[in-house]
Symmetry: C2
């Protein structure tokens, strides 16, 4: 089995070799730019990993893997416009460096380019793989819509939040693994199982991300503590706390959410105090573990040699942090 980091490198090289028409330059330059910004190449690497685990030829899965990466970067390019984000991976975003129109149109071409790359599979797999790609792509758009809707809503329920992160993040991970598995020769049942593994792992990973924002040690994870709190981001912790809070705690949270001017550290400390009082960390950890368990349960049912399953277990363990 190939190591994940080797697969990520393989994608990195292949991305560099992607060729674009020279004309019109304004259309293709932003695509080169965003694709060469880097990133972990995790989604395409997962596709290759699944292909490899089922005994497929990783080289032959490169085009569809690139399709997933190009698609992912299309969503980033359009999301950055929608979120008014000035930076992405520490670099100026496309709509800032060029303009909004360039980011819209180049993004559109990337989505089409994604289909072109995804079509580089044998005829037998063309329809099933494109079906997965379509479902994944619609899911990501629906997830982004829900994410935007939630910003202006104060009554978001936990189930809705889980559905949002499932669509926006988890579905692509499942889709990438499923496509890779089919390319590797997996039957439909195993492909479904590895998709389920990926989707549930993605949910657990996202919930962990919510937890790390508040409870992660900054030395260990290099992230500012409380970024989500400062920006009023509707995370599992906030939504569940609003649900668990008594009248007094609810008022406290709501006051901080509505405050336009505040001391950042003070807000983080006050909101965290409510989180602690309602014991939301335990709820989040339990939910996270539920999804991790679902992922592992799906994994166990896959008909792969023990060694390959262990690879998947190790991968999942590596993603899940045991100590904050």
């Amino acid at each position: 089995m190939r190591e994940l980091k080797d697969l990520q490198l393989l994608i990195d090289e292949a991305v560099t070799k992607l060729e674009y028409p020279a004309y019109p330059a304004e259309l293709y330059e932003p695509i080169k730019y965003i694709l060469q910004m880097g990133g972990k190449r995790m989604r395409p690497a997962l596709l290759l990993m699944a292909c490899d685990l089922f005994g497929g030829d990783v080289e032959k899965a490169l085009a569809p893997a690139l399709a997933i990466e190009v698609f992912h970067n299309f969503t980033l390019m359009h999301d950055d416009i929608m979120d008014n984000a000035p930076l992405r991976r520490g670099k100026t975003t496309v709509h800032e460096l060029w303009d909004r129109n360039a980011a819209i149109l180049s993004g559109d071409v990337m989505l089409i380019q994604g289909y072109k790359l995804m079509m580089q599979v044998e005829d037998r797999l063309l329809r099933p793989i494109l079906d997965i790609f379509n479902t994944t792509a619609v899911g990501v758009c629906e997830g982004q819509q829900l994410d935007m809707d939630f910003e202006t809503r104060s009554d978001v329920k936990i189930d809705e939040y889980i559905e949002m992160i499932r669509l926006k993040t988890a579905v692509v991970l499942g889709g990438a693994l499923k496509i890779g598995a089919l390319l590797g020769g997996a039957d439909t049942k195993d492909a479904e199982l590895i998709a389920k593994f990926g989707e549930n792992l993605g949910l657990a990973f996202q919930l962990q991300d919510d937890l790390l924002d508040v409870y992660g040690s900054p030395e260990k994870f290099g992230k500012q503590v409380g970024g989500d709190i400062i920006s009023n981001k509707k995370t599992y912790l906030l939504i569940k706390s609003l649900e668990l809070a008594n009248k007094e705690q609810a008022t406290e949270l709501s006051n901080w959410l509505n405050l336009k001017q505040f001391n950042q550290q003070e807000k983080v400390e006050a909101v965290t105090a409510v989180y602690n009082a309602v014991q939301v960390k335990q709820y989040a950890e339990t939910t996270m573990q539920t999804y991790a368990d679902k992922a592992f349960a799906a994994l166990e049912k896959i008909t792969l040699p023990e060694e390959n399953k262990q690879y998947l277990r190790d991968f999942a363990d590596g993603l899940m942090v045991r100590e904050f």
Copy 2:
């Protein structure tokens, strides 16, 4: 053979029956809105027409025809953002009625929806039809990019202009006919020929549109005369006139192009006077006729019964106006 207007009606009905998920409503409402704005449904009707002419079942070609219409409306939704257009077909544009983000994201979903509909063809035709769709889709984006680039350039050449309208307008007409022909059972050669017919007819039609703006009688075509002149739109007439103009005429044109405040009628009359002086109408008509001839030449080579060819000839004749 079915009449074109019946095919347009068929599309209109099918568009009304398209179903979307209820949730998230914000994502799907703009799609319903733009698709029910109307429009001539010309592109999907051409697809059905080609299918019908080659003896195919029009009902079975409905999904790919809808794909073309959904795709076309996706480009309109995104183009309207890029062009800051407040109105489309006399109705408020999506980015005005909702907001820019809604128009971006709903447009993205429409492009994916286009692929989903286009995939509703038999396995044998899946790859060739999607290849045509990809080429068409990239072409339209490239055309839109060139169109935007031209707005800020003063050195656009006629060849570049032709390439722009080919990509932005003509390629979709050719692509729709080609897909319809394949669905109707045409061989690759005939499919290529009908695509060539459509593409060249599209070019002739666009050049005619440029001519009508200045030389069309408003009573006959119901359009304001000189709209392109007022907005400095780089049409065949303007680009070719700049090329043909002597120093004095070039200065005259350039002055009008740079004037920020002007009397509209005065500008239209002055620019038209230069157009007449350099006899650009004849150049445009000759070029238009060249493309019309190419369209008819391709048509003659198609292996269809005389009656079916006559249908295509009548269709083309109907599009081309003999008197302005």
